[in-house]
Symmetry: C2
Subunit: 306 residues, 2 copies
């Protein structure tokens, strides 16, 4: 059994690779809920949804998020009412948020709801939220403090990021099953997700980082930076704005206290020694996953390393 | 200026007639919110929406409720998730509920939101909810206690109704503007709506019925029963199950304490004396409104009576 820590679209590529090679019992995914958002009274969990939609075969292949061939009649009507409509709410996608919100109000936990969702969508993994609490990530920017989704979508990542706040994580507990999964795992994989807004929030839940430090289970991180660029999203821009070099080495340093193996892209092979100097093992391979075959291939290489 | 008390589809026919003859300042509609429902975390106000959609020219002409050419992608996805899907939620209609819920959570009152909605939809009336509180109507039936919408839609009006409960009305106040509107009106019209589930909840808000008793403003009721049948919905069935004859006379008696004029359909002209014996004036005319012309025509007749 392995554990994967994943954010949204980028990390889900590797999760899909694992899911094609492992049974549901062999793959536990701890999903970021720091990008969760409360809007129109609904609880929206973009990263959990991306993982469940992708593994359930429903995801929009054009975007990597949302549902294939979804319609946007509700969103257009919201625009006509003058309501905020910057968050992409597909009509079918909306059903997930309505259903989740309803179950939360009935007293079900996000863990229970997420498990049920994976069952309904036939998503082949055990998907756990990092916590059952609502712990949204806020960014301190030159435009003021922004919810992560405001920064990502409404502001299209334009503001300069000065700091991050993982709101209410201090009092949050890891979701039931997460600690046990990490302790039992043969390997823990940090997917190629943004270290600040995808992996960072998971590590900020009290106990999770500490467990990764203590456990003998080997912990792998797959680089989200290749050839000075992020594979997806604002990881490169954020590294720079937060005072780090745009380099896999900087990412490795963020995880140095608990990491065992860093998976470097072959385009950055020259950085191997620099990362080994951090007392980490290094695997050099192609980490760019352009299609499902490449996702499975990278997952195969990683599983062989165990 | 006149005031109309209205429920859903039936009452809205007459409201539409009035709205074609009067300016916005001349027509205040007090809408039933006893059929409001909280579902999926959303506040749904079917009667207010029916009135606003109808006057805004958006209503589905086939049903008299919902939005014309709406789609149901979200509802289908809810079904696939195993969520309750008996309540008809169109994708565009859903935007209204999301927007309303969001504004309620931001601290706006239902009165303010409803006013804004009418502005956005260009609905030509001043539409007031009966109260800003949530006071759902429950029916005591042979199948147990049911929310009005569960009875109407999920159970298709099949259960036998033994009693009604206008929940939490004891502590509710009339929405701001309702009492002033009744006091200033040249006439108050109880639209041809169900006396138990459309007009009854409005009259149950403390102060409204008392005001109608006290005011010198003439109060008219248009019969919802014609030739022993309800024009729409379960009014006849409910009259019977609650121990009343299925007759306009029974409806007139329900309003006898505050009513001045009862508008009887010409098919029931023989009942004139019986209603006059209740110390009510009686107008006999065609009350059945099959098209917009007939809606305007009935409204014209009623306005002439003032």
């Amino acid at each position: 059994m392995i554990v994967a820590l994943a954010g949204g679209v980028g990390g889900t590529k590797l999760v899909l690779g694992f899911s094609r090679l492992l049974s549901r019992d062999q793959l536990t995914v701890i999903g970021n809920t720091g990008d969760d958002l409360e809007m129109f009274g609904l609880r929206i969990c973009p990263d959990l949804d991306t993982i469940a939609y992708t593994l359930g075969g429903q995801v929009n292949p054009e975007t990597g998020w949302g549902i294939e061939q979804d319609t946007f009649a509700c969103l257009k009507a919201l625009q006509q009412l003058g309501a905020p409509s910057w968050f992409n709410l597909g009509d079918r996608d909306l059903a997930t948020h309505l259903w989740r919100t309803s179950l939360l109000q009935q007293g079900h936990s996000l863990t229970q709801i997420t498990e049920k969702m994976c069952q309904m969508l036939e998503a082949n993994c055990r998907l756990l939220p990092m916590t059952d609490s609502y712990t949204p990530t806020y960014l301190v920017t030159d435009q003021g403090e922004l919810h992560l989704q405001e920064y990502l979508i409404r502001e299209k990542c334009r503001p300069v990021v000065r700091d991050l706040r993982y709101v209410d994580t201090e009092t949050a507990a890891p979701a039931p099953g997460t600690s046990e999964a990490i302790l039992k795992a043969e390997g823990v994989f940090l997917c190629p997700s943004n270290p600040f807004i995808s992996i960072g929030p998971i590590l900020a839940v009290p106990g999770i980082r500490e467990l990764l430090v203590q456990t003998d289970t080997p912990v792998f991180a797959i680089t989200p930076i290749v050839n000075h660029r992020a594979l997806k999203g604002p990881a490169a821009k954020m590294l720079e704005e937060l005072g780090h070099p745009v380099s896999p080495v900087a990412v490795a340093k963020l995880y140095q206290d608990f990491l065992d193996v860093f998976v470097l892209d072959e385009q950055d092979a020259q950085l191997r020694k620099e990362i080994e100097a951090l007392d980490l093992k290094v695997i050099v391979t192609n980490t760019i996953m352009n299609d499902d075959q490449e996702k499975v291939h990278l997952a195969e290489i990683l599983l062989e390393m165990l």
